[in-house]
């Protein structure tokens, strides 16, 4: 039964994910004085991709073929683990299961990027692993600020604790730290540029360069879902207001939707006012996040 609810949650998030991407793109466009595509554009793109044939290099092996499914499945499973319905039981929705489920997708996508034998793929894959090496410890630290307080690595327990706490400075530091990690992990400016195919800068786009048609559609959708997952996690753990008990569960869900939209707009603003960072400046950026987390932990 728990599994059914979690799966339904994942499917709802899956359906909502392209919309959030659309909102971010639209906001960015407006901020840059462009009209930009409609917010439903990614739905059209994905549907079109899902109807198309795909081209495959003779060099590739079955790894390349199964990767889109695994990448997609990893993102959907991670979405199912999120503690959105706070009254769910979720004994097993563990933080580390969540992080390592996302890691499955990355592991296979990087392998697939090497499979076609082009330099672009390898470049993207190499950079992706580099970013993940920087992000992983900092992401853990940021999440630990909440986990240590709740004494549990269970996502439900963590979200529950967040809902009980009132605002504190420690929380603010932790939230900033997580926001930085979120930018890096979802491949946005200033770490990666999701809108470019320029080989000097691309990370994610480099890895999926050889994909086309249905597999590419699945990957696009999974990336959108991953973005939504991270925003949701940020919302659930670091913007818990209105606190539990004050309002009914339905108002709670509604407030989550509103907060997700606000964070999406904040992401668009953050992307517009910053520049893409040099690849080897990213460690400093991540160190900033790590430092904020440590401050948050020390302040507790």
């Amino acid at each position: 039964m728990t599994m059914f609810i979690d799966m339904m949650q994942a499917l709802i998030l899956l359906l909502a994910a392209p919309l959030v991407v659309g909102i971010i793109k639209k906001t960015k466009a407006r901020l840059q004085n462009r009209r930009g595509p409609g917010i439903q554009q990614l739905y059209f793109d994905i549907l079109k991709f899902l109807a198309k044939d795909s081209v495959e290099s003779p060099t590739v092996s079955w790894i390349f073929r199964v990767t889109p499914y695994i990448y997609f499945a990893a993102a959907v499973s991670a979405a199912a683990l999120l503690p959105v319905w706070l009254n769910g039981s979720g004994l097993v929705n563990n933080l580390l299961v969540f992080i390592y489920t996302l890691a499955i997708g990355r592991f296979f996508l990087v392998l697939a990027s090497l499979d076609a034998g082009s330099a672009f793929g390898g470049m993207g894959g190499s950079r992706e692993m580099y970013i993940s090496v920087l992000v992983e410890p900092v992401l853990l630290l940021a999440m630990l600020t909440v986990a240590v307080r709740s004494g549990s690595t269970n996502l439900f327990a963590m979200a529950g604790t967040a809902m009980q706490e009132s605002f504190s400075l420690s929380y603010f530091f932790a939230a900033c730290a997580f926001f930085i990690v979120m930018l890096a992990e979802s491949g946005r400016i200033p770490v990666d540029n999701p809108d470019t195919h320029l080989e000097l800068t691309m990370i994610h786009e480099g890895m999926v360069l050889e994909y086309s048609g249905r597999p590419l559609g699945l990957i696009f959708w999974a990336v959108a879902l991953k973005q939504l997952i991270l925003i949701l996690l940020f919302v659930l753990l670091f913007i818990p207001w209105p606190l539990a008990g004050v309002v009914t569960p339905w108002v709670q869900v509604l407030s989550i939707v509103v907060k997700v939209l606000l964070v999406a707009v904040a992401l668009a603003v953050a992307e517009t006012i910053t520049n893409k960072m040099r690849l080897f400046k990213v460690p400093n950026f991540m160190a900033l996040s790590g430092l904020l987390s440590l401050l948050a932990l020390a302040a507790q």
Partner: protein, 673 residues
């Protein structure tokens, strides 16, 4: 049959197998199957012996062998049985694999290889089961010397001999410490029997010395940093089935020794014991995996990753000891379960990976991943099994590496709760982040190893002409890969077994590990929450079905073949990313630790200046501990030897003069001046 029968049977089988030493190179085909068959049967007997002991209780026996130090005794308690199980499983796979792999070594010394293989297994079994100092030390020495001989088996190559000598020196330095630790305990107890040892009667200072000696001694065998330098040299040069046994099984005997000392002999110690272990552990983790990531020799990469995994086990041991000193038996139980689980897992997946590397070496005759590539099409089964090993060592669910990493994470997570004060709490949290870093680096390392060696186009003729290895080599890899999946999908069985093993030790309590329902592992103390692999697998499977359904949304997918896009040039293997290039960004951010030295050689003769230049690019990294610790020691010893040389000039007259001088001095001394 009873446990004792299986015990004797296994000793007999290994000894019989050991007799093949005397056959030399005659009838290699027969020796191969007979000796390795005996080894395999012996390992089966080992497994059965372990199962019987776990079922029936501790087995104690006195060997009909009397030494000046007293009667030899062997005791197989549940802890020993657990390690026997590990040796049995790893050894069985290695023995079957050896039947195919060792054919490369047919020749004059073949009997020696098979015989020593058996003696090696025998010595490890004896190390685990000996319960008397003399018996333990003898077995330990036999194990070290036999493995030295096996590392040095191809002594014609200078590199092998050097590696073997580094190994024998380091392992003996370790042995000195182990013997010291034992003798201190034995003097206090007045007996050499393990059963009489009791650390709590020792004065605090002596107890600390025993602890340090045991930690350093076994740490040298385990390959923890900074005593690891032998491991990445010795493990890669041994024949691959021996490498699998050494990395997968032999270094676990050191973990066994630590368990004996820290759980049984020494009793609960001060907090700094655990703290010291944690510090060394995290160093081993991060540096080990960083060196592994920089490596392009497939077997040396695996050896460095063993250093990392020993670090993960030590993280569990260290946190377990902190919990024991802080009087948190439930948390200590969790930490020690994590240690033993990871110990078993590492035996399984590291053996698997070394066998995979051996298969690659067998069919391409190179270990250099820069010369490999495209093997997934030429060696599909090896590739699949290696991928399982790579995914499990990168701790991806639902494989077994994830379970033990999860348990270790949980143990570390509880660490700040057991500590008091801001700094220790923060240190505990930073350990988790560093373990996360280790995990990410391990993933990068094995993505590189698999992606460069097995995917894309072959980078050399050797890789081009590779062929799948024989079924007798694939079967043990398949078995181990299956075990990786089973231990990941259903961890409850293994956790119950380990809980049984640990139940009797003082200072820890494993009751919180036992679960009430079949589908989840719960840690019931505090609200740490649980882990349910069937749940995770269910989610993944349903999601895969959704993904496949989506791609069939508009009918059956059609695939058109088109060449990889390389900006209009016909793609070739030189355009592919190399292993060195892949790890480049990470090398760059860790440059202060790795201190890479780059050298680019441009060949401009007779080639167009702008296009088609021959470039060669080399990167060498610096190993901090080799440079900072071992080189100075080396230099000092050599300097002292040079100084001694002037005294020891080789002239007889001078020596007679020395004797005279000493005699005169002694006479004067005695005269009482």
């Amino acid at each position: 049959m009873l446990a004792v029968d299986w015990y004797y049977l296994m000793l007999v089988l290994f000894t019989l197998g050991g007799l093949s030493v005397f056959f030399g190179g005659k009838h290699p085909g027969k020796i191969n199957y007979v000796a390795h068959g005996l080894a395999a049967l012996g390992c089966l007997a080992t497994v059965l012996c372990a199962i019987f002991v776990l079922w029936q209780g501790t087995l104690e026996l006195t060997l009909p062998l009397s030494l000046p130090f007293g009667v030899m005794t062997a005791r197989v308690d549940s802890l020993a049985a657990f390690f026997l199980l590990l040796i049995g499983v790893g050894g069985l796979a290695a023995s079957v694999y050896a039947m195919g792999y060792s054919k490369e070594y047919y020749g004059g010394r073949y009997g020696l290889l098979t015989g020593l293989f058996n003696v090696f297994l025998l010595s490890m079994v004896l190390v685990i089961t000996a319960s008397h100092v003399a018996a333990f030390v003898i077995a330990w020495e036999v194990m070290s010397v036999v493995s030295f001989l096996l590392v040095n088996f191809e002594y014609e190559k200078l590199a092998n001999t050097r590696a073997a000598f580094v190994y024998i020196v380091m392992t003996h330095v370790g042995t000195i410490f182990i013997i010291s630790a034992f003798l201190l305990l034995a003097t206090a107890a007045g007996s050499m029997d393990f059963a009489q040892f009791d650390g709590s009667i020792l004065p605090a200072a002596t107890r600390n010395i025993v602890f340090l000696c045991a930690f350093v001694g076994f740490g040298a065998k385990a390959g923890m940093i900074p005593l690891h330098i032998w491991l990445p040299q010795a493990h890669p040069v041994a024949p691959s089935h021996i490498s699998a046994l050494m990395s997968g099984v032999m270094i676990k005997t050191a973990i066994y020794g630590m368990c004996r000392f820290f759980l049984e002999f020494l009793g609960t110690g001060p907090v700094w014991w655990g703290g010291l272990i944690l510090a060394i552990a995290i160093l081993s983790c991060v540096l080990g995996v960083l060196y592994a990531l920089m490596e392009t020799d497939l077997k040396r990469l695996l050896a460095y990753s063993s250093v990392e995994n020993i670090g993960i086990m030590l993280l569990g041991i260290g946190s377990g000891m902190v919990f024991m000193s802080k009087g948190e038996p439930l948390m200590a139980g969790l930490a020690w379960v994590a240690v033993l689980y990871h110990c078993f897992n590492h035996a399984v997946f590291k053996s698997l990976l070394f066998m995979g590397a051996g298969a690659v070496l067998h069919s391409t005759h190179t270990k250099d991943i820069e010369r490999l590539g495209g093997l997934i099409k030429r060696m599909p089964y090896t590739a699949l099994f290696f991928l399982v090993g790579a995914a499990t060592i990168a701790a991806l669910p639902p494989l077994n590496g994830f379970i033990s990493e999860w348990l270790t994470f949980q143990a570390l997570f509880l660490l700040p709760q057991a500590m008091t004060g801001v700094a220790p709490k923060l240190a505990g949290t930073v350990l988790i982040a560093l373990l996360g870093l280790t995990g990410a680096l391990a993933a990068a390392c094995f993505v590189k190893a698999f992606g460069i060696a097995f995917l894309a186009k072959p980078r050399s003729a050797k890789a081009e002409n590779a062929q799948e290895v024989s079924a007798v080599m694939l079967a043990p890899m398949a078995g181990l890969a299956l075990l990786c999946v089973l231990l990941g999908v259903w961890p409850q069985g293994m956790i119950t077994l380990i809980s049984m093993v640990l139940a009797d030790f003082p200072g820890l309590n494993v009751d919180a590990m036992l679960t009430t329902n079949w589908y989840s592992v719960a840690f019931n103390a505090s609200n740490a929450g649980g882990l349910s692999m069937p749940f995770v697998i269910g989610l993944l499977l349903i999601s895969v079905v959704v993904a496949v359904a989506l791609s069939y949304l508009y009918g059956k997918p059609r695939i058109v073949t088109g060449e990889t896009w390389t900006c209009g040039i016909v793609p070739n293997s030189h355009m592919q990313y190399t292993a060195t290039g892949f790890s480049g960004p990470i090398r760059r951010i860790f440059h202060s630790v790795l201190r890479p030295q780059r050298e680019t050689i441009v060949d401009e003769i007779e080639t167009n200046h702008y296009f088609g230049r021959r470039l060669s690019y080399q990167v060498a990294i610096t190993y901090v501990f080799t440079d900072m610790v071992y080189r100075p020691i080396n230099r000092t010893i050599l300097g002292m030897a040079r100084f001694m040389k002037t005294i020891q000039a080789g002239s007889l007259q001078l020596y007679i003069g020395y004797i005279m001088a000493v005699t005169v001095l002694v006479l004067i001394w005695n005269a009482g001046w």
